[in-house]
Symmetry: D2
Subunit: 269 residues, 4 copies
């Protein structure tokens, strides 16, 4: 059979092993989600259905794939952090990227109707992903801080922008001009004085994004058992400790989060 004659082409595959002992971050972004959000009538500046769907997909990724220690998401992006010591797929970068992004994409369509109900999905959405290595814990924390700071900046801007458009009747261009050059303080002031909104009271999910961590949770189930010496079945409560992916909407820039969840950065994690 001619197989052997062609098989030399396998030698053209390059090795893309990730450097050992580094955190492996895969960050995923929606493709053309500006257009996608308009066509699917996302509420502006934040659509709870869309944000919850993103988080559902990210949870699926964490549960289906291996060695993800923490994930962080905001808007149409999600970052997945694989453990430093992970040996999953021999640390091949292409495996990490494509498994994350394909699981996320198929989940997005699969779970769409659970969140968007009657709002039909018009076409299958695309995502891209990249991979970045971080050698130290501080580098990793700074990466996540960078994304959360980005969330804050964008959400503050979008909150004011859409108020100006939706409530003050400005065109998008006018709103953009109005915000040109303003600092965070200015934007807070506009929100407060013109729209009576205290930005700090906006929902945490909008301001902080979503952190996914593994947590031990106690699940109580009832079970029927029959003891040897008794004639009848008996109902007992069984408490089982399971590790589940749990969403949080908290600050991860300061130290408090990392002190509460020391296992995330633990060397032997």
């Amino acid at each position: 059979m001619a197989k052997s004659k062609f098989e030399y082409v396998r030698d053209f595959e390059a090795d893309d092993t990730c450097l050992p002992n580094c955190w492996i971050v895969v960050r995923l972004d929606g493709r053309n989600f500006h257009r996608f959000s308009e066509q699917h009538e996302f509420k502006k500046p934040n659509d709870d259905r869309a944000l919850h769907l993103m988080t559902k997909c990210a949870q699926t990724v964490m549960e289906e794939l291996e060695d993800i220690a923490i994930a962080y998401g905001q808007s149409d992006e999600y970052s997945f952090v694989f453990k430093k010591k992970s040996r999953w797929f021999k640390r091949r970068a292409s495996k990490f990227m494509t498994h994350v992004v394909s699981q996320f994409a198929s989940s997005y369509v699969f779970y769409w109707k659970d969140y968007f109900k009657d709002q039909q999905l018009l076409y299958p959405p695309g995502f891209d992903a990249r991979i970045v290595l971080y050698p130290s814990n501080q580098n990793l924390k700074d990466y996540l801080s960078w994304r959360q700071a980005d969330c804050h900046i964008n959400n503050l801007y979008n909150t004011v922008f859409w108020m100006l458009v939706q409530r003050s009747g400005l065109t998008p261009v006018q709103a953009q001009d109005r915000l040109q050059g303003t600092l965070a303080g200015d934007k807070n002031e506009i929100l407060f004085s013109e729209f009576n909104i205290n930005y700090n009271n906006e929902p945490l999910m909008y301001r902080k994004g979503t952190v996914l961590v593994w947590q031990k949770v106690n699940e109580v189930t009832t079970k029927k058992i029959k003891l040897p010496k008794e004639a009848e079945e008996k109902e007992v409560e069984v408490t089982r400790t399971r590790t589940k992916v749990v969403p949080l909407h908290c600050d991860i820039i300061g130290d408090q989060f990392w002190e509460e969840y020391p296992e995330i950065l633990a060397e032997d994690s």
Copy 2:
């Protein structure tokens, strides 16, 4: 704002530009599709619904992304060939891989019901992908030949194997033992003498897989027009030439295919 303090983490992103003037192949595989096909009751050895769904997804990928010259699929895998001269996303490997795999994965769920009807999709499937560069046209042809030779070998084996199981009542282990060490000729003989099957009459899609190429097609539509001097509208036929992705089930190992489609390998394509 603290943004700048963290932004140094962007410098950790590595450049993954593909070498210019090489064919870029992205090959995608289903994750755990053995289990997936059992849970979704795929017909063995070939399930037309599954194969047509794969091809529908691959067509979507070719139409949504840019610069794909040809694609080839069989079983739960598909290879996409980007043009040598493609400058899409600055030839960044991660972009090619993740856009292909995410578009494919979301399409798989999106179009599932069009092919599987009442058969419910139980969970969102995963895929992985890798990227390989081929410097010469001969290398690329050999790559595609390798995949088609693989299709032939696997399909011949699977055809006999499932006959032995489904018709002769052998257990999978018994069928495997029976085929141990047999050559192609032996398998053809078993098919013919025991099951009266001439392998060469099996459907081309099973034996050759699916090739996706761009083809000019003429679309005839009727249109109502009103000429200035006439009072009434008039129906006219309008013929429009469009370029569409068309599936073929032909040999791509020999020269004939490449002579029929010279534009695929054309330098300036």
Copy 3:
């Protein structure tokens, strides 16, 4: 022994295999050769001793290492082209780069006195090198053309510049100002009208650089032999064909060179 405990560090070595079926070019440059040439009183604009030493080192590299098909040098740089099919050191990029640059550097000191005679070498010079892959023959020819075009541009500039300094007594800054914005034609004109120099009569080595190719040469040696039937030894001339590295100073941008040396680009070379 503690060896095994530490040996995990070997896993941190990354694979740097070059893509098969591509030309591998290693280009080497002198480190701080501006300063080096002043301290060793190189003749300006071209020092024959320095150019011949560079070529001697490059010949040594070609003879000591494997699979180098052609080399091209000018000024303080040299490019070495390894055959497309080379399997030397499993095509590991670091091996190619470091073997070339170290053999060149040690040869530079070793052969220095053969070219520079009484001019003492003051300190051991440094070099750097980079590696580039070229998939097609055209790409490779264009690479070499790029270097030869660069040689021409620099040499024309330097020839005029040093004439202005050495003969017209301009300071370097004045000479630079004078040449600011001039085209090739202008420079030729200055050379001709002010210094009576026809640039095209300048030595080819300066204008074209040096090409190193393998050539069959006949070496005639005399040997004493004693024929069985004769009493005395007899002197005979023996002609042996050897393949040697030969320097040329010719154009490699046009087709003629490649037609004369078809074996360089031959597929099975």
Copy 4:
């Protein structure tokens, strides 16, 4: 000028930036030094001239290049450790490798006669180098421990081997057979009982290799000065503190060395 037409070939150069915040180790090895050492009559098992020349070259590398924090050498190899935070040549791997190996190679020839006196250098030697990244301090210490453990194993073996050959008159093959399967204890015992050698009294340089570190040293020089009010010149001693590369032959596997030289691993080094 045709330059622009060819310049596209520069786009084929791949980016080889080293991941930030990692130790960059360049390890260099002699090429065919088995043959080289025989042809230059190196004393076996250790030739002081050769070892001191290696160290002289390594010192030159450390002084000429930038950001090398520590180096370690044994036999015909040397490892150079660049600081985690180094931004030298934008952390391009090829620059690190080729500058190290070329400076080392040219120094080897340049300083040869200072160590080998009448022993002529017969031909220019070659070296190769590789580059490895280590994310954590522990990884780096383990790397250096690996090399020092390797030095110990090889030197113990070579010491016994050459005793058996030189003193007991065994052939190399007989000596090899004799040592087959022996443990460290066995080799120590042979040395002691047959040759009255206590391995622990062998020179540290042979057993531990050579560590190069930066050290502040006080240099006292005498200088003639003439004070304004005095008629005669006067000799004064001037003490100047300089940072120099100093060779040590000590254990670097245990903690003591790292406690004595904390600045090597210091974050801001």
